[in-house]
């Protein structure tokens, strides 16, 4: 049987088994490898893949808007563009450098060497730049060019109220003023979005990945009237310049409520460029700095004495012809006075008589009034850095303490404390707590906090307050405060000139000139203090501070002071900066958009349906408009968005808006391409009636 054919057959049979085994071993090795990487090491590969393609993108919230008491925007945001380069991926670095040469303070070669020198994957070219500069980069597509749009803070009144509002750093954290004090509420909460990074390194949004929207910061209404604030700052600046003073401070309080209507220090700064400013310019000195009040404090002495019936206006006292010599010290008046009534002593601001009156009260009793008016304690105003001032305690009184306190020496106060004490007298004897923020509300306009006027205590009786008002009226009409007079407006006030302590001694050169008061006398609306630090032209409050007071009062009240003030100082000159940013409402449900607009003082009209999703808005989001302007919303019904038959035209829309609309309509969305603008759309319907939309963006 050993024919050649059989031999071949047998050989081939042997080979068949060899081949069979070889094939199976080969397959088994592959299968084992698949088990190894797909089953055994699956978790490792999975997390590695995830790390590679998932990218967390922070969503920046919009910082809360700061409005004044009349709803005018003081601080808001605009979209800025930050530009960075990824040195590993930039292709046309030279072209880019040429395109932006000198825009951000670098020459083309500086940009090139800056990028080339960096070992990081991220080199900032500029942060938070004006977006108009970015226009020329629109057509510049390079995967190494990174453009980040972020909101940036804008202060609509520049220097006005700058110490009050404060400023933020480049990351939008509040660094001073209200921005600092209320930072936790204003800043909002970062959101994030997990995006897919594709093989080319581009980020793609995906509907099924987590998205935690940014929570916009809370906005707030201030008690400040920005128009009055502007008048105050203008008058203060003029006054400081005339007086040759180092600085000046003004506080204006609405006495009935404690609302701070204006608060300013000069010199001030531009909150857009706070860098390099000395802290003296940044401080809200009315709250953070103290001074020795001098004669303006005599009102407090008078209030205590009248309330305690220690003296009456008509009682006469000895002026000692300008010099009262005690055992170890001498008290002098600027103008020698004989025996005069207490009212006249106030009008002429006699140190001797007021020190005598103060000395007539018991230590504890006198001290009680000073404390009750709020001296030596914080007012608890809602602003960072408030100081207490110094008020000696009765147990530390020496024989001269009361006498000095009587005319405003031997203690230190903040201008705010002083203004608030005057406010208490103006308010019929009741001290109010001063405050700056009247309400806080979220981005949809829901109020989350509001501050109502807080009565601190009754300090003196209404009758005493009325008598003091009468006395202060006299100071302005007949006495040292004549320079504050305004025709047709009854002003109550008191001058003050105090020596400053330099190196432990009272200086003969450095003075503080003040004028404190309130108006109109019959129904006070404003308690106001003007303080000049180290005036040089003249040292006297009556000469230097009173005219500023007058300037402010007359500007505020205009031609017909009484009614103007009763109308809460409404008439003020509008400027082109009195505009607000239109919020972005595209993609919101109509009710939500409506709320948002109403709460920000917009009127609105509808196009299309009245219920559904906002498809378009006019004026556009982030444009400026005068407060109260009408926004037209084009609304599309929710079921229209969902229906593949009645197609919503998304073409030409920014990808973000289109996504917002589709999301609100509950449409499953897939994005093809990686542009910013929708170029095409393709609809399909699921078996459950919901629909899918593929957006193309090239």
């Amino acid at each position: 049987m050993n024919t050649p054919e059989n031999e071949i057959r047998q050989k081939k049979f042997w080979k068949f088994w060899l081949v069979l085994i070889t094939v199976n071993i080969g397959m088994a090795i592959i299968i084992w490898r698949l088990i190894d990487i797909q089953v055994i090491s699956n978790e490792e590969y999975k997390s590695k893949a995830k790390r590679q393609h998932e990218s967390k993108v922070n969503l920046t919230p919009e910082r809360g808007i700061i409005y004044d008491r009349n709803g005018k925007v003081i601080a808001s945001n605009f979209e800025s563009v930050s530009i960075a380069i990824d040195p590993r991926h930039i292709q046309d670095l030279r072209g880019f450098a040429k395109a932006v040469e000198h825009d951000y303070g670098y020459s083309a070669s500086e940009i090139i060497s800056k990028v080339k020198a960096s070992k990081k994957s991220f080199v900032w070219i500029t942060r938070r730049a004006d977006p108009t500069k970015f226009d020329k980069l629109v057509g510049f597509s390079d995967k190494g060019l990174i453009l980040i749009r972020e909101p940036r803070r804008i202060y609509h009144y520049d220097n006005i109220a700058s110490q009050l509002i404060g400023f933020t750093d480049v990351d939008n954290h509040g660094l001073s003023g209200l921005e600092l004090k209320w930072d936790s509420l204003l800043k909002g909460r970062d959101g994030y979005m997990i995006m897919n990074r594709d093989g080319a390194g581009r980020l793609r949004p995906a509907a099924d990945l987590p998205l935690i929207p940014a929570f916009d910061g809370y906005s707030m209404n201030l008690t400040i009237d920005i128009d009055l604030q502007r008048i105050v700052e203008h008058e203060l600046k003029t006054g400081v310049d005339i007086a040759g003073a180092e600085s000046g401070t003004v506080v204006a309080i609405h006495p009935k409520t404690g609302e701070i209507i204006a608060i300013a220090s000069y010199p001030s700064y531009d909150p857009h460029k706070p860098g390099g400013m000395s802290s003296a310019f940044l401080r809200m000195r009315a709250i953070t700095d103290t001074y020795e009040p001098g004669s303006t404090f005599k009102l407090i002495t008078a209030a205590a004495a009248l309330e305690e019936n220690i003296i009456k206006e008509t009682d006469t006292l000895d002026g000692h012809l300008g010099t009262l010599t005690m055992r170890s010290y001498v008290i002098r008046d600027v103008k020698p006075l004989g025996r005069i009534s207490f009212r006249q002593a106030m009008e002429y601001s006699s140190n001797i008589i007021l020190s005598t009156v103060a000395n007539m009260m018991s230590d504890n009793n006198f001290y009680k009034y000073l404390r009750d008016f709020g001296f030596g304690i914080k007012t608890d105003v809602d602003f960072p850095g408030e100081v207490t001032g110094k008020l000696p305690k009765p147990k530390n009184f020496t024989s001269s303490t009361k006498r000095y306190l009587g005319f405003g020496y031997g203690l230190s106060v903040t201008p705010l404390q002083m203004a608030n004490a005057y406010g208490a007298v103006a308010n019929g004897g009741t001290l109010m707590k001063p405050y700056l923020v009247s309400s806080v509300f979220d981005s949809e306009g829901r109020e989350i906090y509001s501050q109502n006027p807080v009565i601190v205590r009754r300090v003196i009786s209404e009758e005493t307050a009325a008598r003091l008002t009468d006395i202060l009226k006299g100071v302005v009409s007949r006495g040292t405060g004549k320079a504050a007079r305004v025709d047709g407006l009854e002003i109550c006030g008191k001058t003050g000139t105090s020596q400053q302590i330099v190196d432990g001694r009272y200086s003969k050169e450095n003075y503080t000139a003040t004028f404190a008061g309130y108006f109109p006398a019959n129904d006070p609306q404003v308690a106001l203090i003007v303080m000049l630090d180290k005036p040089r032209t003249s040292i006297y409050g009556g000469a230097m501070a009173a005219p500023i007071f007058r300037g402010i009062a007359s500007k505020w009240t205009g031609a017909n002071p009484t009614t103007a003030i009763a109308n809460k100082f409404v008439d003020s000159t509008k400027t082109n900066k009195d505009s607000v940013l239109v919020p972005n409402i595209v993609g919101l449900k109509s009710e939500l958009a409506e709320n948002l607009l109403k709460n920000r003082g917009f009127g609105l009209t509808y196009s299309g349906n009245s219920q559904g999703i906002v498809l378009a808005q006019n004026p556009k989001a982030h444009s400026r408009t005068i407060n109260g302007k009408i926004v037209d919303m084009t609304i599309v019904a929710t079921d229209t968005v969902q229906s593949p038959d009645a197609i919503v035209v998304l073409k030409g829309m920014p990808l973000r808006s289109a996504l917002a609309i589709l999301n609100a309509g509950g449409v499953k969305t897939k994005i093809v391409g990686n542009g910013n603008i929708v170029t095409d759309q393709k609809w399909s319907r699921n078996s459950d009636g919901s629909s899918n939309c593929i957006i193309y963006s090239k």
């Binding site: 081939k12 080979k15 699956n42 897919n196 594709d198 080319a200």
Partner: protein, 412 residues
């Protein structure tokens, strides 16, 4: 002889139609279409549409070849060989260069790849030649003539250059030599030599162990002693010469060899694809991420995934089950081929079917091995699944030949 009558009868019957092979091929093709769809859906490409057309033509080709008169099929062998030589010459002049290889001729909207036709040409020509009476491969002149079929194709393919296809031609040639009775010792040396070379370049100890084990195996085989000694000597020479040649190379040539042997040493270059395809396969898990849900596939981490790296799509989206299922289908196909090669009474088909089995096996091991990071990166497509019309039609032709062999065989 009554054989001709029987063949003529059976040629009209459909009874012996091999449904298993047919459905295996259809399922692999559908799996390929799904994978190509998934890999290209995220951008506007026409790959899927074109592949659907190719597949439709392919099924027609499959059926036509299956029912083609088998003698005429055999008679076409040298013509097809000749055509492939002409096309291989033509492509060097009128071809289109893609990824550095001058390998495609543009025909209408499609690109034809002559190298695929060359594989068919060599297969048929060798099967035809060696199945003639008296053409025993153990005769030196027959071996020489057989080699003459290989060489022109090899040279022309290397001119493109297309290393992958060249390696297929060599593998096919060696496979047929083995099946037709060529000396096992010499074949073993030829097959083992590249592995010994690789071992000598990567690890001396590894090389010594491998070479020793192999020497023992060779010495134990039947055969003439001088031949055995020669075989062992060749292996040691290869192992010693490898590192010396490597060290005398320029650094850029060395790094080319490095990244060929270990793609992951070059993660930004050729290693990138392997790294990403391994990630895709590994992250697929047991059941996969779901159709069109493969993140690496959909986010296009694997460049031109629809061609040589197509296997990473079903393994990512359908997981181990999908991946192993495909291996199983290929296994069925190869075993059918080997079984036909063993049992068929037609000497032409005996060699042809074995060659088909070798082609499938080689493509699958190299391609899948590359995707899962076990083999160096060579431009070798996965049969029935990779995008490419010529490749699909070539594989359909091979499958059609298997059907034909089954249909016309006389049961032993």
């Amino acid at each position: 002889m009554g054989n001709s009558l029987e063949y003529n009868l059976s040629e009209t019957k459909v009874e012996n139609f091999d449904w298993t092979t047919f459905f295996t091929v259809i399922m692999l093709t559908l799996m390929g279409l799904l994978s190509i769809y998934s890999a290209t859906v995220s951008f506007a490409g026409s790959f899927f549409d074109k592949q659907v057309i190719s597949a439709a033509i392919g099924v027609v080709v499959l059926i036509s070849v299956a029912f083609f008169p088998h003698r005429k099929l055999r008679a076409m062998s040298y013509w097809i060989y000749g055509l492939s030589v002409i096309l291989l010459i033509a492509v060097l002049f009128i071809g289109v260069r893609i990824n550095g290889t001058m390998g495609w001729i543009r025909l209408g909207g499609f690109n034809m790849q002559p190298a695929e036709i060359a594989k068919l040409g060599l297969l048929m020509a060798l099967s035809n030649y060696l199945s003639q009476k008296g053409k025993s491969i153990s005769k030196i002149n027959i071996l020489g003539r057989s080699t003459l079929f290989l060489l022109p194709l090899l040279v022309l393919v290397m001119l493109q250059p297309d290393i992958g296809s060249a390696s297929v031609l060599i593998a096919l040639f060696l496979g047929i030599l083995f099946w037709t009775g060529f000396s096992s010792i010499i074949l073993l040396v030829i097959i083992v030599a590249p592995f010994i070379l690789i071992a000598s370049l990567s690890d001396t100890l590894f090389y010594l162990i491998g070479a020793s084990v192999f020497s023992v195996v060779v010495l134990m085989l039947k055969g003439r002693i001088p031949l055995k000694i020669l075989a062992v000597a060749v292996l040691f020479v290869v192992g010693l010469a490898g590192p010396i040649v490597y060290k005398s190379m320029a650094p850029h040539q060395q790094s080319r060899i490095d990244s060929f042997l270990d793609p992951e040493s070059d993660p930004r270059g050729s290693g990138y694809n392997v790294m990403q395809s391994k990630l895709a396969v590994g992250s697929g898990g047991i059941t996969g991420k779901g159709f069109q849900q493969g993140t690496l596939t959909q986010l296009r981490y694997i460049p031109e995934q629809w061609t040589d790296f197509i296997y990473s799509v079903p393994t990512e989206e359908f997981g181990f089950l999908g991946g192993a299922g495909i291996i199983f289908l290929f296994g069925v196909l190869i075993l059918r081929a080997v079984k036909l090669a063993t049992e068929n009474d037609n000497p032409f088909f005996k060699i042809l079917c074995f060659g088909i089995g070798v082609i499938f096996l080689y493509h699958i091991l190299i391609n899948i091995g590359m995707v899962i990071g076990m083999m160096p990166v060579m431009g070798i497509p996965l049969p029935f699944m990779s995008y490419g019309g010529t490749s699909l039609l070539f594989n359909m032709t091979l499958a059609g030949m298997l059907l034909n062999a089954n249909r016309t065989q006389k049961m032993l």
